[in-house]
């Protein structure tokens, strides 16, 4: 079937969003989505059309247990109580500066006005075939902020690395030496990018280095993840 055909894509997307596309056809559709922009666009449009219908539903408050379980699973210490209203608008804004955490260094200003910056560039770093036992996740997803000032990396599943090794992230230009962008403990991290850190680079790569990173400033270990990108 030619999924690039706009009318067919639209019909399938409509049934997917409405929920009538089921079973194997639904799963096939979901597998096709990432690679077919026409399907993806049609699906987004249909979701945008149909989802507001759910606004008529009467909200149902989940039990407090749900948030506790989510909180545990996302690996944080449980964030403060979530009794309704505790996170009121005012409290949120009052707390904003307090919560501008390490992860958000340099980005608070940027995010206060997200519409004025281009969307982030997402790079998928696939595990390389030659990756040794250190590479235990299928991929790491890196998101470069629209202004190129920072990068956030996160593995699809947690990466375990031997205690005497570190994962180091590199920007690899098409010609010239790779530039270190920093360490990624457990495959995740937020990296503030120096000006032009990505200039001329078309690949992000993660190498397995001695603990603390490459002693020479150049990659010394095997490349365990790599992904192409363009800004």
């Amino acid at each position: 079937m030619d999924y690039g055909r706009a009318d067919l894509a639209d019909r399938l997307a409509a049934e997917y969003a409405a929920g009538t596309l089921r079973g194997a056809a639904r799963r096939r559709f979901e597998r096709l989505l990432p690679a077919h922009p026409v399907l993806r666009e049609a699906t987004l449009a249909w979701q945008e059309r149909l989802m507001p219908l759910t606004a008529a539903l009467t909200p149902v408050q989940p039990s407090g247990d749900v948030w506790r379980r989510i909180s545990e699973r996302i690996g944080g210490k449980p964030v403060e109580a979530t009794s309704p209203g505790a996170w009121g608008r005012l409290a949120f804004w009052r707390g904003l500066s307090a919560f501008a955490s390490v992860a958000a260094i340099g980005l608070a200003v940027l995010l206060a006005n997200p519409s004025s910056v281009p969307p982030p560039v997402v790079v998928v770093l696939e595990a390389t075939a030659t990756g040794p036992a250190g590479a235990s996740a299928p991929a790491i997803v890196a998101s470069i902020s629209g202004d190129g000032a920072s990068l956030v990396a996160r593995p699809i599943v947690a990466v375990s690395v031997q205690a005497d090794r570190s994962l180091e992230l590199w920007a690899v230009p098409s010609s010239g030496a790779p530039r270190s962008l920093g360490l990624l403990p457990g495959g995740s991290g937020t990296v503030a990018l120096r000006a032009k850190a990505l200039a001329g680079a078309d690949t992000l790569a993660v190498t397995l280095e001695p603990a603390g990173g490459s002693p020479t400033g150049k990659p010394t270990g095997p490349i365990v993840y790599a992904g192409k990108f363009s800004l």
Binding site: A6, D7, D10, R11, A14, E15, A17, A18, G19, T20, R22, G23, E30, L44, A45, W46, Q47, E48, R49, M51, P52, L53, T54, A55, A56, L57, T58, P59, V60, Q61, P62, S63, V66, W67, R69, I70, S71, R73, I74, V79, E80, T82, P84, A86, W87, F92, F99, S101, A103, A104, L111, A112, P114, S115, P119, P120, V141, V152, R154, T190
Partner: protein, 217 residues
């Protein structure tokens, strides 16, 4: 407590920031996002999978997914509430496949004590006191000034869409509920959706909601 659909976009603007911050690992923002959206998403899931415990499990999966995928969220492409609701619906529909849990609908067959009239809208009524899918559809469409186009659909077309959308019924299940041939139901749903599309595009233009231009396709 019913939120008119008109403020879908308004609520979304507010949520965009929270999703972006969550994408950067900000747990407080994520907690706020949960606080503001979880009761809506649970209502969405419960419509499709009516088992409260399962629905809360699904909700948990949804938010763990949202946390992991938050940084891939692109506010330029979709509204956060749409994005979140889609994830919740997809999870809920998947759960039907896995657990074979069907929404507990009043069966037309069980309901018929003998005198069953054609006009009787037994299909509209779910087993509990919650508004039926058609009520919901008309509430939502009122809010979006869609009632005119919904009126153009036949009653059965409307029911088909409402059953499929709000209860996550498949074509076959809708056909069974309405006791109509599968092919007929399929074409009702398809035509109803296309009519809806035309109407919503007109409504979007009027509201100035749409950031994207749609092809006339």
């Amino acid at each position: 407590m019913v939120k008119p659909a008109a403020d879908w976009t308004e609520r979304s603007l507010d949520l965009s920031r929270l999703v972006s911050r969550a994408g950067l690992g900000d747990r407080a923002a994520f907690a706020t996002l949960y606080e503001r959206t979880s009761s809506h998403l649970l209502a969405v899931v419960l419509r499709i999978n009516r088992d409260q415990a399962q629905a809360e499990d699904i909700l948990q999966e949804v938010y763990v997914n949202v946390w992991r995928a938050a940084q891939t969220f692109d506010a330029a492409q979709s509204q956060p509430l749409t994005w979140l609701t889609s994830i919740a619906r997809n999870r809920a529909i998947d759960s039907l496949r896995r657990k074979q849990t069907q929404p507990q609908m009043q069966s037309p067959r069980a309901a018929s004590g003998g005198a069953e009239t054609e006009d009787e809208d037994v299909y509209d009524t779910v087993a509990d006191a919650a508004p039926g899918p058609l009520d919901l559809l008309s509430r939502a469409s009122d809010a979006r000034a869609l009632s005119q186009c919904m009126d153009k659909l036949s009653a059965l077309q409307r029911q088909s869409v409402a059953l499929a959308f709000f209860h996550g019924l498949s074509h076959a299940e809708v056909a069974e509920q309405l006791r109509q041939p599968l092919g007929t139901v399929k074409s009702w749903v398809r035509r109803a959706l296309m009519t809806l599309k035309g109407c919503l595009q007109a409504a979007v233009t009027l509201d100035g909601v749409g950031g994207k231009s749609q092809g006339s396709g």
